[in-house]
Amino acid sequence: MNPPSGSASRQKKLFRWGISLLSLLVLTVVAFVLGMSAGELDISVWDVPRILAEKEGVEYVVLTRIRLPRIILAIAAGGGLSLSGAVLQGIYRNPLVEPFTLGISGGAALGVALAIVFTLPAVLGAFALPLAGFSGALLAIVFVYVLGARFGQVNVNNMLLIGVMVSFVSSSVMMLMMSLATAQNLHSIIFWMMGSLDEPNSMLIRLTLIVSVSSLVVASFFSRALNALRLGEANAWHLGINTGLTIRVMFLLASLVAGVCVASTGVIGFVGLVIPHLVRVLAGSDYRILLPASFLGGGIFLIICDAIARTIIAPNELPIGVITGIAGGIMFIVFLSRSRSTLKVN
């Protein structure tokens, strides 16, 4: 029998995680440079660092005023949505859950549709749509939480079903709004729903970044509790985990970050579903690596999708939701059929 070699196994694990994070960080930098160079105005990848260092000229303005905010929003929203998906799949122990299965996008879209139909933007200005979207998402979250977690006992299956129902009801009501809306309002609603990283308000971008990064930090402190939940709620309880508290806090955190992301970018589907699964296969299911890796992975994915959306039919721009859906979906199907791995969350 081998002597116990505690430090060797421990170092191996930490080393593997370190490598994973480092490669994702490198990929983020690569995606950042690619995203900076892509667009209507032709800027070569190699010129990006020089232009940023010189701090002058038209190209500098394009890079810092137009492209940089989009990339920051891509990291914030992609990271936030992906983190949210990873956390939700964990607490529901269900591979198909993503922020939008739980009615968050439905609620947000309904909020925005109502705001547009009742001409709220005219009253409140630039913050109107994000605010309406967030209120709608918040309402859906509160609804799911209160109904799903009543009587002091958290029943994740109930919460999931109620979330799906909230999603259906709100999208039906939204269709009702759309069928009653004027052609111009209808266009605004559809445009918002397709999602876009083109956000003129830098306050909103900063807010989204702060919310999603701090969610990552908070969720990381729960990562060992999330690991224990992989063994089932009863076993986590036996290990001294406050399962009810963990599930509630993680649900609220995941839905709030998704709500903020949706409010600032519109509906960008698929990130929250696909990225955590890819990361699980590549980096493992331990939440201590899964959460930061999903965050970075989501950011990289969205930067690249946005670069494609901006260039593929330039000078026009495709809605980013189209790219994430098509690219993400195909990538995922190919990946699943090749790797012979099954969707696993626990």
């Binding site: 029998m1 116990p4 505690g6 990381s220 060992r224």
Partner: protein, 283 residues
Amino acid sequence: MSGLLTVHNFSCGYGDKFVLRDVNLQARHGEISGIIGPNGSGKTTLFRGITGELPARSGEVLLNGRDISQMPYNARARSMAVVAQHVYATDVTVEEYVLMGRLPHRKQFQLFETKEDYEIAHHYMQLTNVYDLRDKLMSKISGGEQQLANIARALTQQPELLLLDEPTSHLDITHQVQILNLIQKLNEEMKLSVLMIIHDLNLAGEYCDYLVMLKDGQPFKQGLPDEVLNYQVIEEGYKTVVVVQPNPVSHKPAVFLVSDKILKQKNKENRQEKSPDQSGKNL
């Protein structure tokens, strides 16, 4: 010998239904105690009450005199480890699975296991013979090995009391005996106190120092195996005809079942012989 775990006037249940009413029992320091009883007698409910999963409607569960519902979660898991019946076979390696036993010992905000955590986990993995499986996934090892890994994880919590829910169900006799011998060894060498639900009356008689038979949510009989595994007690508790004979080697009570056909034949023979003291279940 003092009471390590005391269940005092304990009632609990699901929804509006009470499954257990005013249960009183004790598991003593350094002993292996077994809970037996027919299906639906409340064994699992009692188990979930003791682990704190099901809140008490009245009464309390005391561990070393402390009410477990008032204990901090981590403190509870440090003094009481649970081996549940269902092992969620997940894509965690055996090593990572066993390491989860260090969770109740972690400091607040401590993200990574310490070197000591690994050493403790490896120690118990060797004790339970799963050290060589450490890089295998839990879902890729056999049921018996999963149960051993489960026990290793529980031991890694370094508890005073080990609670097991039917540790030998679904296992063949090789693994049944392997698991129970291990539990007995831990009890003797580490002075670990054990409380387990155990379905098999013969194994209960062979391995337990103290038995509690539940019936309709109440302890129907508790005491030494010889007192509880008595044919009259079993026949009333389980509504089944049994024969109890001492095991020829261990002299612990062993329970035999008799088929209906044979029973009828025996009854007929008895009636023909008309001898009143031949009941077919002499001890």
